[in-house]
Amino acid sequence: MKQLVEIIQNHFPINDIDLRKKSLAFISIHQNQAIPLLEWLKTTHGYTAFVLLTAVDWIEENRFQLTYLISNPENFTELGVRVFIDREKAEMVSAHHLWKSIWVYQRELKEMFGINFPDSPRVNESFILEGWDTIPPYRRDFDTKQYSEETYFPRPGRSTNDPAKHMKSKLYPKD
Protein backbone atom coordinates (compact mmCIF):
# COMPACT_ATOMS: atom_id res chain seq x y z
CA MET A 1 0.00 0.00 0.00
CA LYS A 2 2.85 2.28 0.88
CA GLN A 3 4.28 1.86 -2.59
CA LEU A 4 1.00 2.72 -4.24
CA VAL A 5 0.57 5.81 -2.09
CA GLU A 6 4.06 6.93 -3.12
CA ILE A 7 3.18 6.47 -6.79
CA ILE A 8 -0.01 8.44 -6.35
CA GLN A 9 1.95 11.18 -4.60
CA ASN A 10 4.04 11.56 -7.73
CA HIS A 11 0.95 12.24 -9.78
CA PHE A 12 -1.65 13.77 -7.52
CA PRO A 13 -1.51 16.12 -4.55
CA ILE A 14 -2.83 13.96 -1.71
CA ASN A 15 -2.68 14.32 2.05
CA ASP A 16 -3.93 12.77 5.32
CA ILE A 17 -2.43 9.44 4.41
CA ASP A 18 -3.57 6.66 6.72
CA LEU A 19 -1.99 3.28 6.05
CA ARG A 20 -4.68 1.46 8.01
CA LYS A 21 -3.59 -2.12 7.42
CA LYS A 22 -1.71 -4.28 4.94
CA SER A 23 -4.51 -4.20 2.41
CA LEU A 24 -6.20 -0.90 3.18
CA ALA A 25 -5.19 2.75 3.06
CA PHE A 26 -7.04 6.04 3.14
CA ILE A 27 -5.98 9.23 1.39
CA SER A 28 -7.53 12.67 1.02
CA ILE A 29 -7.62 14.73 -2.12
CA HIS A 30 -9.13 17.97 -3.29
CA GLN A 31 -12.66 17.86 -4.64
CA ASN A 32 -11.62 18.73 -8.19
CA GLN A 33 -8.94 16.05 -8.39
CA ALA A 34 -10.92 13.15 -6.99
CA ILE A 35 -12.68 11.87 -10.08
CA PRO A 36 -9.56 12.08 -12.28
CA LEU A 37 -7.66 10.20 -9.56
CA LEU A 38 -10.30 7.45 -9.43
CA GLU A 39 -10.25 7.16 -13.19
CA TRP A 40 -6.46 7.00 -13.24
CA LEU A 41 -6.38 4.34 -10.53
CA LYS A 42 -9.03 2.35 -12.34
CA THR A 43 -7.41 2.40 -15.73
CA THR A 44 -3.74 2.16 -14.83
CA HIS A 45 -3.48 0.54 -11.41
CA GLY A 46 -6.07 -2.18 -11.50
CA TYR A 47 -8.53 -0.56 -9.09
CA THR A 48 -11.36 -1.78 -11.24
CA ALA A 49 -13.83 -2.70 -8.53
CA PHE A 50 -15.94 -0.19 -6.70
CA VAL A 51 -16.73 -1.03 -3.10
CA LEU A 52 -18.72 1.84 -1.72
CA LEU A 53 -19.38 5.54 -1.69
CA THR A 54 -20.65 7.17 1.44
CA ALA A 55 -20.61 10.44 3.31
CA VAL A 56 -19.63 11.49 6.80
CA ASP A 57 -21.06 14.69 8.23
CA TRP A 58 -18.40 16.73 10.04
CA ILE A 59 -20.88 19.35 11.11
CA GLU A 60 -18.42 21.07 13.45
CA GLU A 61 -16.12 21.76 10.51
CA ASN A 62 -19.03 22.59 8.26
CA ARG A 63 -18.08 20.01 5.68
CA PHE A 64 -19.00 16.59 4.38
CA GLN A 65 -16.51 13.86 3.84
CA LEU A 66 -17.18 11.64 0.84
CA THR A 67 -15.36 8.33 0.90
CA TYR A 68 -14.88 6.42 -2.34
CA LEU A 69 -13.67 2.96 -1.53
CA ILE A 70 -12.18 1.13 -4.48
CA SER A 71 -10.48 -2.21 -4.66
CA ASN A 72 -7.98 -4.02 -6.78
CA PRO A 73 -9.17 -7.58 -7.43
CA GLU A 74 -5.72 -8.64 -8.56
CA ASN A 75 -3.70 -7.87 -5.44
CA PHE A 76 -6.65 -7.73 -3.05
CA THR A 77 -6.02 -4.22 -1.77
CA GLU A 78 -8.45 -1.44 -1.07
CA LEU A 79 -8.02 2.29 -1.17
CA GLY A 80 -10.31 4.82 0.42
CA VAL A 81 -10.30 8.20 -1.30
CA ARG A 82 -11.61 10.97 0.91
CA VAL A 83 -12.99 14.18 -0.48
CA PHE A 84 -14.17 17.05 1.66
CA ILE A 85 -16.93 19.25 0.35
CA ASP A 86 -18.56 22.36 1.69
CA ARG A 87 -21.64 21.56 3.75
CA GLU A 88 -23.45 24.68 2.60
CA LYS A 89 -22.83 23.96 -1.05
CA ALA A 90 -23.06 20.20 -0.94
CA GLU A 91 -22.37 19.17 -4.48
CA MET A 92 -19.99 16.74 -6.11
CA VAL A 93 -19.23 15.63 -9.64
CA SER A 94 -20.87 12.34 -10.53
CA ALA A 95 -18.63 9.31 -10.96
CA HIS A 96 -21.29 7.30 -12.74
CA HIS A 97 -19.30 7.15 -15.94
CA LEU A 98 -16.65 5.10 -14.15
CA TRP A 99 -18.82 2.41 -12.59
CA LYS A 100 -22.35 1.48 -13.51
CA SER A 101 -23.43 1.01 -9.93
CA ILE A 102 -22.53 4.45 -8.60
CA TRP A 103 -25.80 6.14 -9.46
CA VAL A 104 -27.48 4.21 -6.65
CA TYR A 105 -25.02 5.51 -4.07
CA GLN A 106 -25.34 9.02 -5.39
CA ARG A 107 -29.10 8.87 -5.38
CA GLU A 108 -29.06 7.70 -1.77
CA LEU A 109 -26.62 10.42 -0.73
CA LYS A 110 -28.83 13.03 -2.36
CA GLU A 111 -31.77 11.85 -0.34
CA MET A 112 -30.09 11.02 2.96
CA PHE A 113 -27.45 13.75 3.15
CA GLY A 114 -28.70 16.28 0.66
CA ILE A 115 -25.51 16.07 -1.37
CA ASN A 116 -26.24 16.73 -5.01
CA PHE A 117 -24.61 14.93 -7.91
CA PRO A 118 -25.74 16.82 -11.01
CA ASP A 119 -26.35 14.65 -14.07
CA SER A 120 -26.30 11.41 -12.13
CA PRO A 121 -29.14 9.18 -13.41
CA ARG A 122 -32.39 9.35 -11.43
CA VAL A 123 -30.61 11.34 -8.72
CA ASN A 124 -33.73 13.30 -7.87
CA GLU A 125 -36.07 10.33 -7.57
CA SER A 126 -36.89 9.43 -4.03
CA PHE A 127 -35.05 6.28 -3.05
CA ILE A 128 -36.05 5.15 0.40
CA LEU A 129 -38.13 7.97 1.78
CA GLU A 130 -41.42 9.17 0.45
CA GLY A 131 -42.84 12.59 1.19
CA TRP A 132 -39.92 13.56 3.44
CA ASP A 133 -40.40 17.20 4.39
CA THR A 134 -37.61 17.98 6.85
CA ILE A 135 -33.82 18.10 6.62
CA PRO A 136 -32.09 15.05 5.12
CA PRO A 137 -32.14 12.49 7.91
CA TYR A 138 -28.53 11.36 7.86
CA ARG A 139 -27.22 14.85 8.54
CA ARG A 140 -25.91 15.18 12.08
CA ASP A 141 -28.32 17.97 12.94
CA PHE A 142 -31.28 15.69 12.30
CA ASP A 143 -32.21 14.38 15.74
CA THR A 144 -33.74 10.92 15.42
CA LYS A 145 -34.96 10.90 19.00
CA GLN A 146 -36.68 14.25 18.70
CA TYR A 147 -38.21 13.23 15.40
CA SER A 148 -39.62 10.03 16.81
CA GLU A 149 -40.96 11.84 19.87
CA GLU A 150 -42.71 14.37 17.68
CA THR A 151 -43.96 11.88 15.15
CA TYR A 152 -45.00 8.90 17.23
CA PHE A 153 -46.86 8.45 20.47
CA PRO A 154 -44.84 7.56 23.52
CA ARG A 155 -46.31 4.81 25.61
CA PRO A 156 -48.10 6.48 28.51
CA GLY A 157 -47.45 5.62 32.12
CA ARG A 158 -43.71 5.16 32.07
CA SER A 159 -41.43 7.06 34.42
CA THR A 160 -37.98 6.45 35.76
CA ASN A 161 -35.76 7.63 38.60
CA ASP A 162 -32.07 8.41 38.70
CA PRO A 163 -30.63 6.44 41.65
CA ALA A 164 -28.52 9.32 42.99
CA LYS A 165 -31.30 11.91 42.69
CA HIS A 166 -33.84 9.53 44.14
CA MET A 167 -31.64 8.82 47.15
CA LYS A 168 -31.06 12.52 47.67
CA SER A 169 -34.77 13.28 47.58
CA LYS A 170 -35.48 10.56 50.11
CA LEU A 171 -32.45 10.64 52.38
CA TYR A 172 -31.16 14.21 52.45
CA PRO A 173 -33.60 16.41 50.55
CA LYS A 174 -32.40 19.70 52.01
CA ASP A 175 -28.65 19.44 51.40
Binding site: D18, E78, K100
Partner: protein, 392 residues
Protein backbone atom coordinates in the same frame (compact mmCIF):
# COMPACT_ATOMS: atom_id res chain seq x y z
CA UNK B 1 -33.29 -18.90 -24.60
CA UNK B 2 -32.74 -15.24 -25.03
CA UNK B 3 -29.85 -12.90 -24.99
CA UNK B 4 -29.74 -9.54 -23.43
CA UNK B 5 -30.35 -6.24 -25.08
CA UNK B 6 -29.86 -7.24 -28.66
CA UNK B 7 -33.12 -7.00 -30.43
CA UNK B 8 -35.10 -4.08 -29.07
CA UNK B 9 -37.54 -3.82 -31.97
CA UNK B 10 -40.52 -4.71 -29.87
CA UNK B 11 -39.37 -2.56 -26.97
CA UNK B 12 -39.69 1.17 -26.41
CA UNK B 13 -37.13 3.70 -27.51
CA UNK B 14 -34.37 4.61 -25.10
CA UNK B 15 -33.33 8.13 -24.27
CA UNK B 16 -29.68 9.20 -24.05
CA UNK B 17 -29.41 8.09 -20.44
CA UNK B 18 -30.71 4.65 -21.31
CA UNK B 19 -34.18 5.11 -19.81
CA UNK B 20 -37.06 3.58 -21.71
CA UNK B 21 -39.51 6.08 -23.20
CA UNK B 22 -42.75 4.39 -22.37
CA UNK B 23 -46.08 5.63 -23.59
CA UNK B 24 -48.60 3.94 -21.35
CA UNK B 25 -51.53 5.39 -23.29
CA UNK B 26 -50.48 3.33 -26.30
CA UNK B 27 -52.08 0.29 -24.55
CA UNK B 28 -49.01 -1.60 -25.53
CA UNK B 29 -47.49 -1.49 -22.05
CA UNK B 30 -48.73 -2.22 -18.60
CA UNK B 31 -47.31 -1.18 -15.22
CA UNK B 32 -47.16 -4.10 -12.89
CA UNK B 33 -46.07 -3.80 -9.27
CA UNK B 34 -44.48 -6.84 -7.74
CA UNK B 35 -44.08 -6.58 -4.02
CA UNK B 36 -43.46 -5.34 -1.39
CA UNK B 37 -44.40 -8.83 -0.21
CA UNK B 38 -42.39 -10.64 -2.77
CA UNK B 39 -41.79 -14.34 -3.38
CA UNK B 40 -38.19 -13.63 -4.32
CA UNK B 41 -36.85 -11.99 -1.19
CA UNK B 42 -36.62 -12.21 2.56
CA UNK B 43 -37.89 -8.81 3.58
CA UNK B 44 -39.91 -6.33 1.67
CA UNK B 45 -39.08 -4.77 -1.64
CA UNK B 46 -41.10 -3.76 -4.60
CA UNK B 47 -40.48 -3.93 -8.31
CA UNK B 48 -42.17 -1.50 -10.63
CA UNK B 49 -42.32 -3.49 -13.84
CA UNK B 50 -43.39 -2.26 -17.20
CA UNK B 51 -44.50 -5.23 -19.22
CA UNK B 52 -45.58 -5.94 -22.67
CA UNK B 53 -47.40 -9.23 -22.81
CA UNK B 54 -45.60 -11.29 -20.20
CA UNK B 55 -42.24 -9.80 -20.96
CA UNK B 56 -40.61 -7.11 -18.89
CA UNK B 57 -39.37 -4.05 -20.72
CA UNK B 58 -38.33 -2.01 -17.76
CA UNK B 59 -37.89 -2.53 -14.06
CA UNK B 60 -37.37 -0.12 -11.20
CA UNK B 61 -36.45 -1.22 -7.72
CA UNK B 62 -38.35 0.43 -4.89
CA UNK B 63 -37.18 0.05 -1.35
CA UNK B 64 -38.19 1.82 1.83
CA UNK B 65 -40.61 -0.66 3.30
CA UNK B 66 -38.24 -1.58 6.10
CA UNK B 67 -36.10 1.45 6.61
CA UNK B 68 -35.46 2.27 10.20
CA UNK B 69 -32.17 4.06 9.60
CA UNK B 70 -29.99 1.70 11.59
CA UNK B 71 -26.81 3.43 10.51
CA UNK B 72 -28.15 6.67 11.88
CA UNK B 73 -29.51 5.05 15.04
CA UNK B 74 -26.07 3.69 15.80
CA UNK B 75 -24.69 7.22 15.75
CA UNK B 76 -26.51 7.93 18.98
CA UNK B 77 -25.66 4.68 20.71
CA UNK B 78 -22.49 3.71 22.51
CA UNK B 79 -20.37 1.06 20.87
CA UNK B 80 -21.76 -1.71 23.04
CA UNK B 81 -25.29 -0.53 22.36
CA UNK B 82 -24.64 -0.70 18.62
CA UNK B 83 -24.11 -4.41 18.91
CA UNK B 84 -27.78 -5.38 19.38
CA UNK B 85 -28.79 -2.76 16.80
CA UNK B 86 -26.56 -3.62 13.88
CA UNK B 87 -27.59 -7.25 13.68
CA UNK B 88 -31.07 -6.24 12.63
CA UNK B 89 -29.75 -5.34 9.20
CA UNK B 90 -30.25 -8.88 8.03
CA UNK B 91 -32.75 -11.28 9.52
CA UNK B 92 -31.68 -14.27 7.52
CA UNK B 93 -27.99 -14.01 8.35
CA UNK B 94 -27.34 -11.56 11.19
CA UNK B 95 -23.97 -12.93 12.28
CA UNK B 96 -21.77 -11.13 9.74
CA UNK B 97 -23.14 -7.84 11.08
CA UNK B 98 -22.07 -8.74 14.60
CA UNK B 99 -18.70 -9.84 13.38
CA UNK B 100 -18.07 -6.73 11.31
CA UNK B 101 -19.04 -4.27 14.03
CA UNK B 102 -16.90 -6.08 16.60
CA UNK B 103 -14.02 -6.37 14.24
CA UNK B 104 -14.12 -2.67 13.23
CA UNK B 105 -14.30 -1.60 16.87
CA UNK B 106 -11.47 -3.93 17.85
CA UNK B 107 -9.31 -2.72 15.01
CA UNK B 108 -9.78 0.96 15.83
CA UNK B 109 -9.41 0.38 19.57
CA UNK B 110 -6.43 -1.94 19.15
CA UNK B 111 -7.90 -4.98 20.86
CA UNK B 112 -6.56 -8.48 20.35
CA UNK B 113 -9.28 -11.14 20.38
CA UNK B 114 -8.44 -14.42 22.17
CA UNK B 115 -7.83 -17.41 19.92
CA UNK B 116 -10.75 -19.46 21.22
CA UNK B 117 -13.11 -16.56 20.61
CA UNK B 118 -11.89 -16.28 17.03
CA UNK B 119 -12.60 -19.96 16.37
CA UNK B 120 -16.04 -19.58 17.91
CA UNK B 121 -16.68 -16.58 15.69
CA UNK B 122 -15.79 -18.66 12.66
CA UNK B 123 -18.10 -21.41 13.81
CA UNK B 124 -20.99 -18.98 14.29
CA UNK B 125 -20.40 -17.40 10.88
CA UNK B 126 -20.28 -20.77 9.14
CA UNK B 127 -23.34 -22.05 10.96
CA UNK B 128 -25.12 -18.91 9.83
CA UNK B 129 -24.07 -19.56 6.27
CA UNK B 130 -25.22 -23.15 6.58
CA UNK B 131 -28.71 -22.22 7.74
CA UNK B 132 -29.06 -19.61 4.99
CA UNK B 133 -27.97 -21.98 2.26
CA UNK B 134 -30.25 -24.72 3.53
CA UNK B 135 -33.10 -22.49 2.50
CA UNK B 136 -31.51 -20.75 -0.45
CA UNK B 137 -30.42 -23.86 -2.37
CA UNK B 138 -33.85 -25.52 -2.54
CA UNK B 139 -35.45 -22.06 -2.48
CA UNK B 140 -34.22 -21.47 -6.00
CA UNK B 141 -36.43 -24.33 -7.17
CA UNK B 142 -39.18 -22.96 -4.97
CA UNK B 143 -39.41 -19.92 -7.21
CA UNK B 144 -40.40 -22.32 -9.98
CA UNK B 145 -43.04 -23.80 -7.68
CA UNK B 146 -41.03 -26.82 -6.59
CA UNK B 147 -41.42 -26.40 -2.84
CA UNK B 148 -40.53 -29.87 -1.66
CA UNK B 149 -36.81 -29.37 -1.28
CA UNK B 150 -37.46 -26.17 0.59
CA UNK B 151 -39.36 -28.11 3.22
CA UNK B 152 -36.51 -30.56 3.60
CA UNK B 153 -34.02 -27.76 3.93
CA UNK B 154 -36.14 -25.79 6.33
CA UNK B 155 -36.38 -28.76 8.67
CA UNK B 156 -32.61 -29.08 8.92
CA UNK B 157 -32.30 -25.33 9.22
CA UNK B 158 -34.56 -25.47 12.24
CA UNK B 159 -32.24 -27.98 13.85
CA UNK B 160 -29.30 -25.67 13.17
CA UNK B 161 -31.28 -22.90 14.87
CA UNK B 162 -31.61 -25.24 17.85
CA UNK B 163 -27.81 -25.39 17.92
CA UNK B 164 -27.67 -21.60 17.72
CA UNK B 165 -30.11 -21.44 20.61
CA UNK B 166 -27.81 -23.64 22.67
CA UNK B 167 -24.69 -21.75 21.77
CA UNK B 168 -25.90 -18.16 21.78
CA UNK B 169 -29.22 -18.06 23.62
CA UNK B 170 -31.11 -16.90 20.55
CA UNK B 171 -32.51 -18.60 17.47
CA UNK B 172 -32.64 -15.81 14.92
CA UNK B 173 -30.81 -12.81 16.40
CA UNK B 174 -27.87 -14.53 18.00
CA UNK B 175 -26.12 -11.52 19.54
CA UNK B 176 -23.12 -13.71 20.09
CA UNK B 177 -20.15 -11.90 18.66
CA UNK B 178 -19.53 -8.69 20.57
CA UNK B 179 -16.62 -6.25 20.69
CA UNK B 180 -13.80 -8.06 22.43
CA UNK B 181 -14.87 -11.63 21.85
CA UNK B 182 -17.90 -13.88 22.03
CA UNK B 183 -20.46 -14.59 24.71
CA UNK B 184 -19.91 -18.21 25.53
CA UNK B 185 -17.97 -21.44 25.01
CA UNK B 186 -19.52 -24.49 23.35
CA UNK B 187 -22.05 -26.17 25.66
CA UNK B 188 -21.37 -29.76 26.70
CA UNK B 189 -22.11 -32.23 23.93
CA UNK B 190 -22.60 -29.47 21.39
CA UNK B 191 -20.15 -30.91 18.88
CA UNK B 192 -21.93 -34.25 18.80
CA UNK B 193 -25.33 -32.71 18.33
CA UNK B 194 -24.07 -30.46 15.57
CA UNK B 195 -22.41 -33.43 13.89
CA UNK B 196 -25.77 -35.26 13.94
CA UNK B 197 -27.29 -32.30 12.12
CA UNK B 198 -24.44 -32.17 9.64
CA UNK B 199 -25.12 -35.82 8.80
CA UNK B 200 -28.62 -34.78 7.82
CA UNK B 201 -27.12 -32.19 5.51
CA UNK B 202 -24.89 -34.91 4.01
CA UNK B 203 -28.05 -36.84 3.25
CA UNK B 204 -29.87 -33.76 2.05
CA UNK B 205 -27.24 -32.79 -0.52
CA UNK B 206 -27.66 -35.75 -2.94
CA UNK B 207 -31.41 -35.78 -2.39
CA UNK B 208 -31.73 -32.17 -3.36
CA UNK B 209 -29.38 -32.77 -6.25
CA UNK B 210 -31.63 -35.47 -7.62
CA UNK B 211 -34.69 -33.36 -6.99
CA UNK B 212 -33.49 -30.13 -8.51
CA UNK B 213 -30.29 -30.19 -10.48
CA UNK B 214 -31.20 -33.17 -12.59
CA UNK B 215 -34.77 -31.96 -12.88
CA UNK B 216 -35.66 -31.34 -16.50
CA UNK B 217 -38.16 -28.58 -15.63
CA UNK B 218 -35.69 -26.75 -13.44
CA UNK B 219 -32.97 -27.10 -16.06
CA UNK B 220 -35.28 -25.86 -18.77
CA UNK B 221 -36.23 -22.76 -16.84
CA UNK B 222 -33.01 -21.91 -15.06
CA UNK B 223 -30.42 -22.57 -17.69
CA UNK B 224 -29.64 -19.54 -19.77
CA UNK B 225 -31.79 -17.35 -17.57
CA UNK B 226 -30.38 -13.96 -16.52
CA UNK B 227 -26.83 -14.45 -17.67
CA UNK B 228 -24.37 -12.04 -16.09
CA UNK B 229 -21.47 -11.27 -18.43
CA UNK B 230 -18.00 -11.39 -16.92
CA UNK B 231 -17.41 -7.72 -17.67
CA UNK B 232 -20.19 -6.75 -15.33
CA UNK B 233 -18.54 -8.17 -12.24
CA UNK B 234 -16.49 -5.11 -11.34
CA UNK B 235 -18.49 -2.67 -13.38
CA UNK B 236 -21.71 -3.35 -11.49
CA UNK B 237 -20.34 -4.68 -8.28
CA UNK B 238 -21.20 -8.38 -8.28
CA UNK B 239 -20.01 -10.51 -5.41
CA UNK B 240 -19.81 -13.96 -3.98
CA UNK B 241 -21.67 -16.86 -5.59
CA UNK B 242 -22.96 -14.64 -8.40
CA UNK B 243 -19.41 -13.71 -9.35
CA UNK B 244 -18.15 -17.26 -8.96
CA UNK B 245 -20.89 -18.49 -11.27
CA UNK B 246 -19.40 -16.17 -13.87
CA UNK B 247 -16.02 -17.80 -13.48
CA UNK B 248 -14.52 -15.06 -11.32
CA UNK B 249 -13.14 -16.16 -8.00
CA UNK B 250 -14.61 -13.87 -5.35
CA UNK B 251 -14.50 -15.12 -1.79
CA UNK B 252 -13.19 -12.90 0.99
CA UNK B 253 -12.26 -15.98 3.00
CA UNK B 254 -9.76 -16.84 0.26
CA UNK B 255 -8.66 -13.43 -0.93
CA UNK B 256 -8.42 -11.69 2.46
CA UNK B 257 -8.33 -14.53 4.99
CA UNK B 258 -9.72 -13.31 8.30
CA UNK B 259 -10.07 -15.13 11.63
CA UNK B 260 -8.44 -18.56 11.07
CA UNK B 261 -9.70 -19.21 7.54
CA UNK B 262 -6.11 -19.55 6.40
CA UNK B 263 -5.88 -22.71 8.50
CA UNK B 264 -8.92 -24.23 6.86
CA UNK B 265 -8.67 -26.26 3.69
CA UNK B 266 -11.38 -25.26 1.21
CA UNK B 267 -11.74 -24.41 -2.44
CA UNK B 268 -14.77 -22.38 -3.52
CA UNK B 269 -16.51 -23.74 -6.58
CA UNK B 270 -16.57 -21.72 -9.79
CA UNK B 271 -18.29 -22.23 -13.09
CA UNK B 272 -18.71 -20.24 -16.28
CA UNK B 273 -22.34 -20.37 -17.32
CA UNK B 274 -23.32 -17.44 -15.14
CA UNK B 275 -27.05 -18.10 -15.36
CA UNK B 276 -29.58 -18.81 -12.65
CA UNK B 277 -28.74 -22.51 -12.82
CA UNK B 278 -25.03 -21.84 -12.41
CA UNK B 279 -25.56 -19.52 -9.46
CA UNK B 280 -27.74 -22.11 -7.79
CA UNK B 281 -25.16 -24.78 -8.51
CA UNK B 282 -22.47 -22.66 -6.90
CA UNK B 283 -24.64 -22.44 -3.80
CA UNK B 284 -25.12 -26.18 -3.73
CA UNK B 285 -21.36 -26.58 -3.72
CA UNK B 286 -21.07 -23.83 -1.13
CA UNK B 287 -23.42 -25.75 1.11
CA UNK B 288 -21.30 -28.84 0.73
CA UNK B 289 -18.16 -26.84 1.42
CA UNK B 290 -19.71 -25.19 4.47
CA UNK B 291 -20.40 -28.56 6.04
CA UNK B 292 -16.80 -29.49 5.41
CA UNK B 293 -15.52 -26.20 6.86
CA UNK B 294 -17.64 -26.62 10.00
CA UNK B 295 -16.23 -30.10 10.50
CA UNK B 296 -12.72 -28.74 10.15
CA UNK B 297 -13.46 -25.96 12.62
CA UNK B 298 -14.88 -28.40 15.15
CA UNK B 299 -11.80 -30.57 14.79
CA UNK B 300 -9.29 -27.76 15.06
CA UNK B 301 -10.81 -25.36 17.55
CA UNK B 302 -9.58 -25.31 21.14
CA UNK B 303 -12.06 -26.62 23.72
CA UNK B 304 -11.24 -24.08 26.38
CA UNK B 305 -9.78 -20.62 26.62
CA UNK B 306 -10.73 -17.02 27.08
CA UNK B 307 -13.82 -15.93 25.23
CA UNK B 308 -13.37 -12.21 25.58
CA UNK B 309 -10.45 -9.83 25.71
CA UNK B 310 -10.56 -7.23 28.46
CA UNK B 311 -12.00 -4.00 27.12
CA UNK B 312 -12.29 -0.56 28.67
CA UNK B 313 -15.49 -0.02 30.63
CA UNK B 314 -18.18 -0.37 27.98
CA UNK B 315 -20.39 2.21 29.70
CA UNK B 316 -18.15 4.97 28.41
CA UNK B 317 -15.81 3.33 25.93
CA UNK B 318 -14.22 6.01 23.80
CA UNK B 319 -12.46 5.01 20.63
CA UNK B 320 -9.76 7.18 19.09
CA UNK B 321 -10.57 9.09 15.94
CA UNK B 322 -10.12 6.97 12.84
CA UNK B 323 -11.82 5.05 10.10
CA UNK B 324 -11.62 1.56 8.74
CA UNK B 325 -13.30 -0.88 6.40
CA UNK B 326 -13.64 -4.51 7.40
CA UNK B 327 -15.23 -7.19 5.27
CA UNK B 328 -16.20 -10.81 5.46
CA UNK B 329 -17.85 -13.34 3.20
CA UNK B 330 -21.55 -13.69 3.83
CA UNK B 331 -23.64 -16.27 2.03
CA UNK B 332 -24.43 -13.56 -0.52
CA UNK B 333 -20.87 -12.40 -1.06
CA UNK B 334 -18.59 -9.70 0.24
CA UNK B 335 -20.17 -7.93 3.18
CA UNK B 336 -18.34 -4.95 4.58
CA UNK B 337 -18.59 -2.28 7.21
CA UNK B 338 -17.08 1.16 7.06
CA UNK B 339 -16.76 2.66 10.53
CA UNK B 340 -15.72 6.23 11.24
CA UNK B 341 -14.98 7.26 14.81
CA UNK B 342 -14.39 10.74 16.17
CA UNK B 343 -12.86 10.02 19.58
CA UNK B 344 -16.20 9.96 21.38
CA UNK B 345 -18.04 7.01 22.87
CA UNK B 346 -20.33 6.71 19.86
CA UNK B 347 -19.58 6.07 16.21
CA UNK B 348 -19.52 9.07 13.90
CA UNK B 349 -20.70 7.05 10.95
CA UNK B 350 -21.42 3.41 10.30
CA UNK B 351 -21.93 2.27 6.74
CA UNK B 352 -22.74 -1.29 5.82
CA UNK B 353 -22.20 -2.50 2.32
CA UNK B 354 -23.89 -5.72 1.36
CA UNK B 355 -23.99 -7.29 -2.10
CA UNK B 356 -27.71 -6.62 -2.48
CA UNK B 357 -27.01 -2.91 -2.62
CA UNK B 358 -25.82 -3.36 -6.17
CA UNK B 359 -27.38 -6.75 -6.96
CA UNK B 360 -30.95 -5.68 -6.37
CA UNK B 361 -30.68 -2.24 -7.92
CA UNK B 362 -28.46 -1.75 -10.96
CA UNK B 363 -27.92 -5.43 -11.70
CA UNK B 364 -31.49 -6.61 -11.18
CA UNK B 365 -32.98 -3.73 -13.13
CA UNK B 366 -30.71 -4.63 -16.01
CA UNK B 367 -31.24 -8.39 -15.82
CA UNK B 368 -35.02 -8.13 -15.71
CA UNK B 369 -35.27 -6.39 -19.04
CA UNK B 370 -36.43 -9.02 -21.54
CA UNK B 371 -37.20 -11.51 -18.81
CA UNK B 372 -40.49 -13.20 -18.28
CA UNK B 373 -42.73 -12.01 -15.44
CA UNK B 374 -42.76 -15.53 -14.04
CA UNK B 375 -38.96 -15.51 -13.82
CA UNK B 376 -38.52 -12.37 -11.71
CA UNK B 377 -38.61 -14.24 -8.41
CA UNK B 378 -36.06 -16.76 -9.69
CA UNK B 379 -33.72 -14.01 -10.79
CA UNK B 380 -34.04 -12.21 -7.45
CA UNK B 381 -33.34 -15.38 -5.50
CA UNK B 382 -30.38 -16.17 -7.71
CA UNK B 383 -28.93 -12.76 -6.76
CA UNK B 384 -29.71 -13.47 -3.07
CA UNK B 385 -31.59 -10.22 -2.74
CA UNK B 386 -31.77 -8.91 0.81
CA UNK B 387 -33.62 -5.56 0.91
CA UNK B 388 -32.40 -4.42 4.37
CA UNK B 389 -28.93 -4.15 2.89
CA UNK B 390 -30.17 -1.47 0.52
CA UNK B 391 -32.09 0.60 3.05
CA UNK B 392 -29.88 0.30 6.06
Amino acid sequence: MFTINNDRSKFPELDDAGNALIDLTSHKYLKLWQGPQHPGVTGNMSLELTVTGDEIVESKTHVGYLHRGFEKLMERRTFIQCFPTCIRLCVAEPDPNEYLLSSCVEELAGIEVPETAQWLRMLALEMARLQVLLRQVPGQAGTFALGLGYQWGNYIRDLILDRFEELTGGRVYHMYILPGGVRGLLPNGFKNRLEENLKLVDEFLPNVWDLIYTNSVFKKRAKGLAVIPKEWIDQYGIYGPAARAAGIMRDVRKTHPYLFYSEIDFEPFTTDESDVFARSLVRWHDLKMTVDIIRQILAKMPEKGDIKAPTPNVMHWKIPKGETYVKCESSRGEYGMYLVTDGSDKPRRVNLKGPSYTHATSVLEKLLVNANIADTAAIMVSLATCPPEIER
